[in-house]
Amino acid sequence: MACIEARGLRKAFGTTIALDGINLRVEEGRILGLIGPNGAGKTTALNAILGLTPYEGELKVLGRDPWTERDQLMRDVCFIADVAVLPRWISVSQALDYVAGVHPRFDRAKAEGFLAKTTIGRASKVRELSKGMVTQLHLALVMAIDAKLLVLDEPTLGLDILYRKQFYDSLLDDYFDRSRTIVVTTHQVEEVQHVLTDVMFINRGRIVFDCSMEQLESRYLEVTVHPEHVAAARALKPMQERQVFGRSILLFDAVDRHQLAALGDVRRPSIADLFVAVMGNQAGQAQGAAR
């Protein structure tokens, strides 16, 4: 069974179309990165998946309709919507008590274990903690919940790099096993690259790119082309061309590696490079359509 399955998912706010008929399928045990510019519809898509907003179209999360069956769904789904949503008045021990009191799948000992690795005191209130510590606390609470789906919307926004790295490391080491599914949105593409198993780009309410990391590594290649081969390289229809220190770097989709090796230095593109290429093409198409 797919963890998340959407067909023709649509959501409009007045005349603004936030989701324009999205089709997606996330299998169990994947870590999906949902990447897109601001206002692309990432958060709206996540809100629909989490049953926080009504939508048009078909959507099943763990086999349930998230809007009508939200109460049952939330026993198996957990999310960090944003940093700094923990109530400022709550103390660490109260937060543990409360989650243990209401969540059937919360393992308090596990949460205490995660907290023991931090400098967070049990009696401190959230308002007294630094932003990084609040995130650590939230992550400790969430990771101690035995959920089937974990959704993270910009979980590291506003954190310094040490906390960001720590965040994803502990997510992989202490939480992820092959049976859970994680969906994460972020701006900091480079930092999640090594974490993800799948990546989707979303732009103007549509999924514009959907690929597993294995596919991504085998399909896409970036070549720093020797000046004398530029014309030959362009003939192979690159997705994108850019200039760095006076040399042309071309990005290819599904072109034979040996063929490219003859033209220059071949390497794997980063998600960020691909993102720029895909989004650049999107913008180009949009301009073309406008003309």
């Binding site: 989490l50 949503v85 923990l86 109530p87 059937p104």
Partner: protein, 309 residues
């Protein structure tokens, strides 16, 4: 029997893997109400502070108690009773007023505060339904505040009685005090008043405030009060009548059996419907309760759609 005992050693492991993972609704409700008390400590701190103030004031006033008692004894029995009971009634009224104000401020903020500080996103990430959340918040004015008021008032009156009788011990008037102040009777009356008026008769007030709190993006207090004023003014200008204002006045100052008919005499009896029977059969009570229920249903629905502000 045998199979059962064999199965036991496996159960801890098994239960970890396929735990039925069910938390009864009552337990989620319990933790949700506790959560409200953690966040809104004024629910019990304000009445306790007022009770302390009352006791300090009363302690000072006991200096003149023996003289007052002698003066009171010269009056006829009905006036005697009233005069001697007056500080106790006053303490109860003050505490009820305090928790009423706490209740109003609590309700106005209850469903707006969590959206303002974005913590609604955290609460919604846990398996607690909107219905449970709204009911737990409604339980504060409907159940918790009346109970807190009752407990604090009875204890305060008890301490006052002890302080008074200690002061009168020397003059041999202690017995008179106990004869005139019936703590039990006052408590029964107080409980009846709290249930009948604070919880049931004022139910539409609590329902309305919670609804506005769930709906308003800001200035919930103004949204809760100004539209009522506007309706009253509109009615006055358009029809030169004041039925709406009269209805509100009836709801908050009066009630069935003319709850506040008593002019200047302050006593609990004058603020409480005369008999439970008349009260329970008055249509006003049931219309109010239906209105409150409608507000809560609307509040639950609104909370589903609401996002942080």
């Amino acid at each position: 029997m045998n199979t059962q005992s064999n199965a036991i050693p496996e159960s801890p492991l098994e239960s970890h893997v396929i735990a039925p993972a069910v938390i009864p609704a009552s337990r989620r409700m319990y933790w949700s109400v506790r959560r409200e008390l953690w966040e809104n400590r004024s629910i019990y701190i304000a009445p306790l502070a007022v009770a302390a103030l009352i006791l300090v004031g009363f302690l000072i006033s006991t200096i003149h108690l023996p003289d007052e008692m002698r003066a009171a004894l010269a009056l006829d029995p009905a006036q005697q009773q009233e005069l001697i009971e007056q500080p106790y009634t006053f303490a109860a009224l003050l505490l009820m007023f305090t928790t009423f104000v706490v209740g109003v401020f609590y309700c106005v903020d209850a469903l707006q505060g969590e959206r303002r500080d974005r913590s609604i996103l955290f609460w919604k990430s846990l398996p607690v339904s909107d219905l449970t959340t709204v009911l737990s918040k409604a339980s504060i004015p409907f159940v918790v505040l009346p109970l807190v008021t009752f407990a604090v008032t009875v204890v305060t009156q008890g301490i006052m009685l002890l302080l008074g009788s200690a002061r009168l011990l020397g003059s041999g008037q202690s017995a008179t005090l106990w004869a005139h102040v019936s703590l039990f009777q006052m408590s029964v009356m107080l409980l009846y008043h709290l249930v009948a008026v604070h919880a049931l008769w004022w139910a539409p007030l609590w329902g309305w405030l919670l609804l506005v709190s769930a709906w308003a993006r800001r200035a919930a207090f103004l949204w809760a009060t100004l539209p009522l004023l506007a309706i009253g003014i509109l009615e006055k200008i358009a029809f030169n009548t004041s039925h709406f204002a009269a209805m509100l006045a009836y709801r908050f100052l009066g009630g069935p059996e003319g709850v506040a008919s008593s002019g200047n005499r302050i006593s609990m009896a004058s603020l409480t419907p005369a008999t439970p029977g008349d009260f329970l059969t008055s249509p006003g009570l049931w219309i109010g309760l239906a209105f409150a229920a409608a507000c809560l249903v609307a509040g639950v629905r609104l909370r589903r759609y609401r996002e942080p502000i």
